[in-house]
Amino acid sequence: MPEYNNRELSWLEFNQRVLEQAQRESLPLLERLKFLAISASNLDEFFQVRVGSLMLLRRSGRKTRENSGFTPTQNLAAIRERVLKMTADQYDLLNHTLIPALAVKGIVLLSPQQLSDSQRAQTAIAFEDNISPLLTPLAMDENGTPPTVPALHIVLACRLFDPADQTTRHVLIPIHENLPRRIAVQTDGETNAFILIEDLVATHADRLFPGESITATTAFRVTRNGDIAVQEEDAIDLADEMEDVLTARRFADTVRLEIRSDAPRDLSRMIRTVTSSGAQEIYSHAGPLGLASFMEMAFLPDYDHLRDEDWPAQSSPSITPSASMFETIAAGDVMLFHPYESFDPVIRLIEEAAADPDVIAIKQILYRTARQSRIIDALIKAAENGKHVTVLVELKARFDEARNLNRADELQRAGAQIVYGVKNLKTHAKVCLVLRRESGHIRRYVHLGTGNYNETTSRLYTDLSYLTCKAEYGNDASLLFNAVTGRSKLLRFQRLIPAPSAMKPRLLDLIAGEAERAKQGLPAKIIAKTNSLQDPEIIAALYEASQAGVEVKLNVRGICCLIPGKKFSKNIEVVSVIDRFLEHARLFYFHQGGDPEVFIASADWMTRNLEKRVELMIPIEQKIIKRRLIRILDAFFKDNQNAYRILPDGTSQKINPAKGEKPFRAQEHFHQQSRRAAKAREHERSMTFEPHVPQE
């Protein structure tokens, strides 16, 4: 029986690496604050999804052990122990390092006690005018049903005293999500002072209860189970069903109760009752709750000196700005490495397709889109222009359902054919297909990627985009769309390798192929970059490959259930890179006796991706692109600035330059490289003039 690391603890170790970025003194202050907020936001999602489903499992009485041998109860206990340590680190950093350091730089977080009389008066006006109309206090009825508080909102619990009848009562004031977390407070100097919304409400809440006085307050925040899935079998209309899920998620079981550690005992007890939280769900924090919302502060204007220097996306040398995307792709396949290279060409392809009279149809899968999505705007325009637009909107993209629903509705109104995903599977493949008539024939242009069609994340996540009009790739993309729109069964593809049908068997074959070569004494090597590695069969195959003598180099950002450095995995090296951009590209290399096979993919090496999702693995055949991808893969293993080595116990150790070794930071290297390439191309263009000639 192969050994595996615990998935949840492995993920928590990843989050610890994110938190470590916040602890790095060499990083600019607001970047550190950003990483702290990211680590908190990650934890929120972790509790909603993972802890939520583990609690459901525990409640169902199942004792099934996961691959590392933990029962749900053991898992929850181990998670709690690890999270307590992590949150202690978070608050220690915030209270003792970041808040004081920010104050020195003029960003001052004031407590209610620190407000001067004039500031108190100023905030009172703000409270009256802008805040109190949005507050709806919930009274506690001692004998009735406790009020339901919304998830992930900060809620203020108050003790009120009525001097008239000498009675005490409790009320809850949920802070509306549309209210800003931070309220500016006027100062004499140039400092940027502010007070947190919950402190402001606590200070002025007595205005909401005339005749009563507030004798104590505290803030709390509940996290509920987000793992409420649509019962697809019963769903007549998935869109309606999804709205129900969104509502249910706000009021589902409590999986975590965060409360201030200085909360008065009676309030604390009342909150536990109201939220039905057991001792194991309570996390007391020595500071403000909901650190995820501190992210906004990291983007405060006028503090660029406290942030990293901007690395704007460069234009790829493969893209000619004056040529249409169709001309560019027809001239040769294009590979873009985001966010170093701009995502704009991908958007341009769809925008040009929407306006091009020769384009017949556009088909696209949307998983997570940006708030103001140019891509959806282009698709709407295309549908309005009479093109056949087919869009698969994955409503099951967790936490993005609401946005996806709204845009799906807009697309449908414009006349696009909308498919709400595939039954029982999440559609995670990133593919866009454009059918265009050229000289009486139909040509297919395809974009295949590792990241979502999301302009915002395309500036923050590292991803790969492959643009081609090779007939086999276009044909396979057509087959995929025929299958996901329910018009055809999933047929055998010529080039692309889809999950859940073919990707895992192919990966296992490729790994076994390397193992076989190693056994025969031939050179054998696997390099893979993935966000998570959890699938037991893939891990077992990698152990076998290691034992056969295959050199296995893995770059895994997050969960890694593979245990490196043991007897059965002595040839496996695992690194994790955490830097300013979120590592998101999936890229695999198999040596294949010196004629390497290189793939990009939308899927991680997790069972959910390989067996429960529609995903694509894309073989890259063009030699130049292949070589470039191999260089990208290699670079991560040279990183000695932002890389961590995963240790056999699942924890990680930062990699530092060896004696005499130069510092190397992979992301910086990619940025410099793309800048140099763009500059060289710009120079080349400036030397070549293109005259305007009369039209024939």
Binding site: A361, A383, G386, H388, R437, I442, S478, R487, K489
Partner: protein
């Protein structure tokens, strides 16, 4: 509310370059949309396939259920939407056909009517002849490169949903063609009641097929087969699990694979081989029948093409027209082999055939027969005297039943019946309604028989001596007569005598009295 779309102003691809073929198959409905380049080569633009349990219904209950019919309608409507997206007319397909399995459904006409009403598409059934032709095309176009085809004697076996067909290729040419009432879905439905599983299921299948297998062994007992190629929907869908790079699969491996597959549940087969349920259910019968055939013929290995069966079939449906010439040649070769088997006078048959061709060409406006009818006449000319093998007396009647009970490559049952009747009517009595096979035909087909037999009788009269004396003729039509001039020929007394007894049908059918004129 969905707003109405703007009027589409997109120019589609040139429809003349786009060909479409729809196939309602035994277990799925598929469509190919292909583009033809300047050289006439076809490239698939799109191919869609959806499972539908047609064969299961037909072999299970003799009718296609309403649910299946409606499923087919829904699938076709989806395909029509795809056609619209490509700017094509969704009601005007190059070919729209249904498997001949449908013919066995009592309600096949109602099913085709329903599809026509719901989708606006007329569907024709692929007959046995076309099916054979498609197998031939597949062999010619796709599997000719298989190592087994290079061997001296290769057998191509197609286990279809209802029937199995075997084509014997010697030196690359078809020398024999046989078919058996044994198929994947037919067998599956027949053995289902046994509730057998695993190895016992294989035994039940083998027992069920034993009669056909014995016939097959007998049919090929006189030839030494060097290689066998197994084709079919189910077997090709698992070919990549059985063989790599089109290499041969040993019988030992094939046997092992079949036994392993028999032990899988349908769900496991669906998952392991990425099949739909319809195919998974017919997989074990397909494997066992194919294995039994290979074992019956004492072969050590089999070849299974790894190409996609269904897509190839649809491609061939579109491409078949361009290959008519070589196909006709194979039909005639098959007829000649049959003629040889019954020691018929080959020179006579060929010569009559030539004369028939002459009449057909010269009298096109008179008879309005098709190229396919012309092919049937050629076959009848080759075979009209095979009955002499039984007895010279009433040999025309012997010819009829020998032909009726023989397989002629590429001809369906109707074709064979027509050839048999035309051969029968080459002498003595003309067609009469108390001749059962003739009476069973439609009026149109009876007229075809009359026209073809009339021409054969005249040609046969001119070849009365079996000496190929008359090779040059001139045909003149004038004042109610068909004058046959024989340049350079002085005494045609024997032929005239023969014509007196045979030209009656020609006059009845075409209204022209036949007159022979020597070159005096």
């Amino acid at each position: 509310m969905v707003l109405a779309r703007k009027k589409r102003n997109i120019t589609p691809a040139d429809p003349a370059n786009i060909l479409t073929a729809l196939h309602i198959g035994a277990s799925s409905v598929s469509i190919i949309i292909a583009e033809r380049d300047e050289k006439g080569n076809l490239t698939a633009i799109d191919f869609l396939e959806q499972p539908a349990p047609l064969a299961q219904d037909v072999f299970g209950g003799n009718v296609v259920s309403n649910a299946t019919t409606e499923r087919i309608v829904t699938i076709i409507r989806g395909y029509q939407q795809t056609l619209s997206e490509l700017g094509l007319d969704p009601h005007n397909l190059t070919r729209s056909v249904a498997t001949n399995v449908l013919h066995e459904a009592a309600n096949h006409e109602a099913v085709l009517n329903r599809i026509r009403i719901a989708c606006g598409l007329p569907i024709s059934m692929i007959d046995d002849g076309e099916m054979t032709r498609l197998i031939y095309l597949k062999t010619r176009r796709r599997i000719q490169h298989l190592p087994a085809m290079g061997q001296r004697t290769a057998l191509v076996v197609h286990v279809g949903p209802g029937n199995t067909r075997a084509l014997l290729f010697q030196e690359g040419l078809i020398t024999r063609y046989t078919s058996y009432r044994m198929g994947t879905h037919r067998t599956r439905e027949a053995v289902e009641a046994s509730n057998a599983e695993g190895l016992s299921l294989l035994r039940v299948i083998r027992e069920h097929a034993s009669g056909n297998l014995a016939q097959l062994r007998f049919d090929f007992s006189d030839v030494s087969i060097d290689g066998i190629i197994l084709i079919g929907y189910e077997i090709q869908s698992v070919a990549s699990s059985l063989t790599k790079n089109n290499e041969a699969c040993t019988l030992k491996d094939f046997r092992k694979f079949t036994a392993e597959t028999a032990n899988l549940s349908d769900l496991e087969a669906v998952k392991r081989f990425q099949l739909d349920y319809q195919t998974a259910e017919a997989l074990v019968p397909s494997l066992e029948i194919n294995l039994a055939i290979a074992e019956t013929l004492n072969l050590k290995e089999v070849h299974i093409p790894t190409s996609e069966y269904e897509q190839g079939l649809l491609h061939d449906l579109l491409a078949s027209r361009e290959l008519t010439g070589s196909f006709a040649a194979e039909v005639l070769r098959s007829a000649r082999i049959l003629s040889d088997r019954y020691h018929s006078d080959a020179d006579h048959g060929e010569h009559v055939g030539k004369l028939c061709e002459h009449f057909l060409t010269s009298l096109q406006d008179l008879h309005n027969l098709t190229a396919h009818d012309a092919l049937l006449l050629q076959v009848a000319a080759i075979l009209h005297e095979v009955g002499t093998y039984v007895s010279a007396r009433a040999h025309h009647k012997h010819s009829e039943y020998i032909i009726l009970n023989s397989e002629i490559f590429g001809l369906d049952r109707l074709d064979v019946t027509i050839v048999a009747l035309v051969s029968r009517y080459h002498r003595h009595s003309g067609p009469k309604l108390d001749h059962p096979s003739y009476a069973a035909l439609t009026v149109e087909d009876r007229i075809r028989v009359c026209k073809l037999a009339a021409i054969l009788r005249v040609a046969d009269a001119l070849e009365r001596t079996h000496a190929q004396r008359i090779s040059k003729i001139e045909i003149i039509r004038a004042s109610g007569k068909l004058r046959i001039r024989l340049p350079g020929f002085e005494d045609a007394a024997i032929e005239r005598l023969a014509m007196d007894s045979k030209a009656d049908l020609f006059e009845q059918v075409f209204g022209l009295a036949v007159v022979i004129e020597e070159d005096i």
